[in-house]
Structure formats: structure tokens, C-alpha cells
Amino acid sequence: MNRKGQILLLAIIFLASVLLYSTSRLKKPSPNFLEYNGELQSAELIHIARLYWSSENSTIDRLLTILYSLSNENKVSMPIVSYKCNFTLVPGQRGYAWYYTVYNNSVSFRAYWSWEFKGFYIKNLYGEKLLYKSYLLIYYHNYTAPQWDSMIIYPSLDDDMRIADLTYFGEGIWSIGFPARYTEYIFVDEYGLKVVVKE
């Protein structure tokens, strides 16, 4: 190889090195990963808990089995979890209750409500005067997960019997009223959970 050829070869090697180095510097750094286990997986577990408490027929084990089966079929990564469930209701003129599900990966679902008796009033219902009891009700859901810490939402409430009074003040605070002859009244939230007010 003559001198000119050697110099040309060196120049090409140098040019290629400079271009490659420039290209590598221009590329933006991005994280590289195989599988992301995050908010969606925690949301699936919250969804399971919500569906369980709104259902009369399904157990959490059955719902988790279906979720794992569908996740495996569709290549969705879902962690295997264990759980604890608890329903508590403390009746009275000032009572409270909750549905609670907690998983062993720090994901939890809680639907909490409390009520306080405020007094009586008369309501004209279909031409008949009825004595109603009035309560102040606080109702909210609390979803916790490592990805978002704690999230509070205020689901809407409904009355299936269409005889109760429901007024929403915001921030999960409701004024409710139902016929005084009932010692227990059941409302339903937008997810199908039963909200029981019991004296």
C-alpha cells in the first residue's frame, strides 16, 4: 500500500470514528427494560376488590384465578398475591362501616362511610305524609398502592327503592333521609357496593 493509500485509509477510519461518536452522543438516553410492573397491576387488584364487594356470588379467589388466567393468555404481567378482607359495621345513631381488602404487595382497597343522626322531618310521598329520619353521611373510597401512595375518591350514591332523599355537598358529604320506620337502609354506590346505614 503506498503512502497516499495509507493516509486515505487513516482518514476514513478517523472520519468513521468521529461520525459514530457524534451519532452516539446525539441519541437520547432511554431506560431499557423487559417488563414493567406498575400502576396497571395495582389498579387491576383494586378492581378485583371493588368487584368482590359489589358481588354476591364471586369470591376473591375466583376473581383472582380468572385474572391470572386471562393475564397469562394475553401476556399481561400480574404478581401472585395473597389478601385479607374485612367488613365492619358499627350501628347506632352515630355509626360507621367499611369494606376493606389488603394484598400482600401493599395494595389496598377501603370503602368507608359514617353517619350521624340529625333529626326528623315530614315528607309528602305519593300524597301520604311520612316521618323521615335525616342523617349526615360521609362516604369515600381509599385506594393505596406503592405507585401512588393513597388516592381518595368520592363515588356517587343511589337509592334503588326511590323513596330516600339524597343531597350531595361535595368531598364525600351527603345529607340523606329515609322513612323512620326503617332501622336499616341500604344505598348503592356507582360501583355497586351496598352502603348500609343502620341504627
Partner: protein, 110 residues
């Protein structure tokens, strides 16, 4: 000698081209995976009934501008063409106490 120079130059050029191609074309998944995961998680937390009431599609388009296609388990809707699509799957098991499993697939352009 000229031939040797030509071969040497060609070899250098081929190595350069291959390495340049790998750097330019291959890119690891970008941060959109995190943002799409969060958006889909929010939809699942917001409502159990979205795929059953037909409201999911509109919310997906609103929250994920780079959506390429949407499959709610009954029909597939394509919003645009794309050479590179990442698919995300969400499992809805039902709502209001009723079990009705459905897998929703959302294709997103990175």
C-alpha cells in the same frame, strides 16, 4: 496495492454502515410505557363499566394522543397507520357485581 486499498476502505465502510444502522434504528422502549400505564390504570380505577358502556374509546383517545388502535374485545378501531406499535392490555372482569371478563387492547405509537 490499489486493490488492497480498495478492500481496506470497503471493510471500514461496511463496519461503519453496520454500526451506524444499529445505533440509528434500534432504540430501547421509551418512557411512553410509563405514561400509558398510568393512563390505563386511571381509567380502570375511575370506572369498572367503561368497556361495557361504550365510553372507553373516547377516553382512550383523549388521554392517549398517540393511540394507533383500540380493541375492546368486540371490535377493533384503527385511528392511524404506524410502523411501530406497542400493545397494552387491560383486563376488566365486570362491574356492579356482574362477572363479565373482557380484555381491552390499546396499541400506542412510541
Amino acid at each position: 496495492m490499489r486493490a488492497l486499498e480498495a478492500v481496506a476502505i470497503s471493510v471500514i465502510f461496511v463496519i461503519f454502515s453496520a454500526y451506524f444502522h444499529v445505533i440509528a434504528v434500534y432504540k430501547p422502549p421509551s418512557l411512553h410505557v410509563y405514561s400509558v400505564n398510568r393512563a390505563l390504570a386511571w381509567l380502570l380505577l375511575r370506572s369498572d363499566s367503561l368497556p361495557y358502556t361504550g365510553k372507553l374509546k373516547g377516553l382512550i383517545v383523549e388521554l392517549i394522543p398517540s393511540v394507533v388502535y383500540f380493541d375492546d374485545g368486540e371490535s377493533i378501531i384503527y385511528f392511524r397507520d404506524s410502523a411501530r406499535v406497542y400493545s397494552f392490555r387491560i383486563v376488566w372482569l365486570g362491574y356492579n357485581g356482574t362477572l363479565s371478563p373482557r380484555v381491552v387492547v390499546v396499541g400506542v405509537e412510541p
